[in-house]
């Protein structure tokens, strides 16, 4: 329970709010009380001292005129009727005159060295002065003042607790209110699932301080949304790619089994199946290759690869095909490429294979490896049909086939360039494609040296 409370932001805010206001209230009421008490004491003492002084003065003026003294005393008592004042004059310890009944209330001996005293429920402030042979004693009934101070203390204390309580409740409420945007964010994020990643939090609805958080969350959602839609697009594409070969396989087998056939017919069906299986197997191995290279932990063994050897290997492989198609292959290479020889060969081979598809008889394909802007550029340039500008940005997407390739019903998996791209990325490089319809296409793989 306590641990839960301590973890509650609302509780912590309310508690610190209450503690803060408690301290402030204690300080304020304490100060007020202290000032008030001091003021009352000063006032009372002033009244008392004035009376005593007045009597003293009379004694000095008329030392032996008892009636005059009594008159002054009566006048003074009358003046200080509220609070009631008592006065007494002694001469060598013997009473000269006093306010009636004073001896019973306050015996003369009490005045020695005392400023305050109490008798029953009453409180008195006292003063004594020596004037020649006389001793003047004065007392003031301050019961009411003391009561007032007690009442002040009581009120201050209850105000203090009540105020603290009010502040705590207010703090609780303020924290609750202040946390409302967080609940809004919570509610919004609760609605986010893999199927529903389009929910966003409106930054206008939250206070400025939470703006960054909301932007951060929204950005995260954007990235997730993008990754998820890519993933689901990929599954859809993959399923689509599988549909044709599997339809063929199922259909052929079904038809073959529907009646007795000759061995040759069965053989033809199996052979046709083999072709479909090859296609599927190639698709899987390419998907696996891509998955492997996209693994962020995957690393490649890099070593200096002789550019000339790399190019001549690829040229050797395609020379015959190019010659058959009446396409001229030329190549140039210098230096070394820092990378995985097998992968680089595969990338180049994919590019040349694309170029051969896109280049008509009499065309030219040039394979070059050369330093460019501090990197090694692996370039395959063809004088082929080119690609319309609107298709160029999609060329590196998996399963993307140009309109033209669709029409030719080319048997490719549509993964060749995606593989080139992932090979380039594994090497810390990138792929750039420039194409002009009717003029040809140039693909450049930049590999950092």
């Amino acid at each position: 329970m306590w641990n839960d409370l301590r973890k509650s932001l609302r509780f912590r805010l309310a508690a610190s709010f209450a503690a803060g206001s408690f301290c402030t209230l204690v300080a304020i009421t304490g100060l007020l009380y202290w000032g008030f008490q001091r003021e009352i004491n000063l006032r009372n003492r002033l009244v008392l001292e004035t009376q005593v002084l007045e009597v003293e003065r009379t004694l000095e003026l008329h030392p032996d005129d008892l009636p005059a003294l009594e008159k002054v005393v009566r006048q003074l008592e009358a003046l200080a009727s509220e609070p009631q004042a008592d006065l007494r004059v002694l001469r060598a310890g013997r009473l000269v005159t006093e306010t009636p009944g004073m001896s019973e209330r306050l015996p003369a001996s009490w005045f020695v060295g005392q400023e305050k005293t109490k008798r029953r429920r009453l409180r008195f402030a006292m003063a004594q002065r020596q004037a020649g042979p006389f001793v003047v004693q004065g007392a003031l009934d301050i019961t009411k003042d003391e009561h007032m101070l007690v009442e002040f203390r009581q009120r201050a204390t209850s105000t203090l607790f009540l105020g603290t309580l009010v502040c705590a409740v207010f703090g609780w409420w303020a924290a609750h209110r202040g946390l409302k945007p967080l609940r809004l964010i919570t509610d919004s994020t609760r609605g986010v699932t893999a199927q529903k990643l389009d929910a966003r939090i409106d930054p206008a609805l939250v206070p400025q301080e939470l703006g960054d958080l909301v932007h951060g969350l929204n950005d995260m959602l954007d990235r997730l949304d993008h990754a998820f839609s890519r993933l689901s697009q990929l599954s859809a594409d993959l399923a689509h790619e599988l549909r044709t070969p599997i339809t063929n396989l199922m259909g052929e087998a079904e038809v073959a089994l529907s009646r007795d056939r000759t061995v040759e017919e069965y053989r033809a069906v199996l052979e046709s199946s083999m072709e479909e299986f090859r296609r599927l197997s190639r698709l899987i191995s390419r998907m696996l290759f891509l998955a492997r290279t996209e693994d962020p932990h995957s690393v490649i063994a890099r070593a200096p690869v002789d550019a000339r050897k790399l190019v001549s290997d690829v040229v050797d492989y395609f020379e015959a095909s190019a010659e058959e198609q009446g396409i001229e292959l030329d190549s140039s290479a210098e230096g070394t490429v820092d990378g995985d020889a097998d992968m680089l060969r595969q990338a180049l081979a994919n590019l040349v294979s694309n170029a051969l598809e896109a280049t008509p008889r009499g065309g030219r394909i040039s394979i070059r490896i050369q330093p460019e802007d501090g990197r090694m550029a692996l370039i395959v340039e063809d004088s082929g049909r080119g690609i319309p500008p609107e298709e160029v940005p999609h060329l590196l997407d998996r399963f993307y086939r140009t309109h033209e390739a669709h029409q030719r019903r080319s048997g490719g998996t549509g993964l060749g360039l995606a593989i080139v791209q992932s090979i380039a990325r594994l090497h810390g490089g990138e792929v750039r494609i420039a194409s002009e319809p009717g003029r040809g296409t140039t693909v450049r793989m930049g590999i950092p040296r």
Binding site: F277, I284, F318, A320, Q346, N350, S353
Partner: protein
């Protein structure tokens, strides 16, 4: 030649047994790692084909146990996961080769034969199929005594077919052996090379030696 197959997937095990038996091997199948290890210890096999994912003891652990006991039995791994770490692990543990599923049977057969092959042919060796003769050190090929004018790649391709006489060689395998292109390519470069080779080796002669096995690859033999 005795082969041990450790494979838990019944269909895979069945076709491997069938295909390899028909290719002239004597085959025994184990359905899990423990049984496989037991058989490998007892029987005198020339080669084991091990699946990595097996119930109980996996393929790696079987291999490890065999190598620990000092058995030099060549091992070909079959794996469904084409992760570099997996491959490296297999080869580090002492596997001789590996194949990633799905693979073509002809591919498997070619690799099995490679692993079982006797020491490499001596360079002075001359090869002959019917009236086709190859002189390896001089890199020349003759048919019916007549010198064939072949490019270097064509000679390499022909000598591969002749050395693997009677075996179906897949396009991938040929590309790997002749051009060092060890990946599954979408091009028809191998078909083109074979077509050109045929023009020189087969077209002018009565007996055709290079045969297309539809859906699988190519085979050279007198038929």
């Amino acid at each position: 030649m005795k082969l041990l197959i450790v494979e838990d997937e019944p269909k895979t095990a069945a076709y491997l047994r069938k295909g390899l038996t028909e290719s002239g091997f004597s085959v025994q199948v184990a359905a899990d790692g423990d049984e496989g290890l037991l058989l490998a210890r007892e029987g005198s096999f020339d080669l084991a084909i091990l699946d990595v994912m097996l119930p109980g003891r996996d393929g790696w652990s079987v291999l490890q146990a065999l190598r620990k006991e000092g058995r030099e039995l060549p091992v070909l791994f079959l794996t469904a996961r084409d992760a570099v770490q997996d491959r490296v692990k297999g080869l580090e543990l002492g596997a001789d080769d590996y194949l990633v599923k799905p693979f073509a049977f002809s591919e498997l057969l070619a690799r099995v034969r490679s692993l079982l092959r006797r020491p490499p042919l001596r360079a002075s060796e001359r090869l002959a199929v019917a009236d086709l003769e190859l002189d390896l050190p001089r890199s020349d090929a003759r048919r019916g005594g007549q010198l064939l004018s072949l490019t270097r790649q064509e000679f390499l391709l022909l000598s591969l077919l002749v050395r693997r006489r009677g075996e179906v060689l897949s396009r991938t395998f040929i590309a790997e052996q002749v051009w060092d292109m060890n990946f599954d390519s979408e091009t028809n470069a191998v078909d083109v090379a074979i077509r050109r080779l045929r023009r020189k080796v087969d077209d002018p002669f009565e007996v055709k030696l290079i045969h297309t096995v539809r859906g699988s690859g190519y085979r050279l033999d007198v038929e």
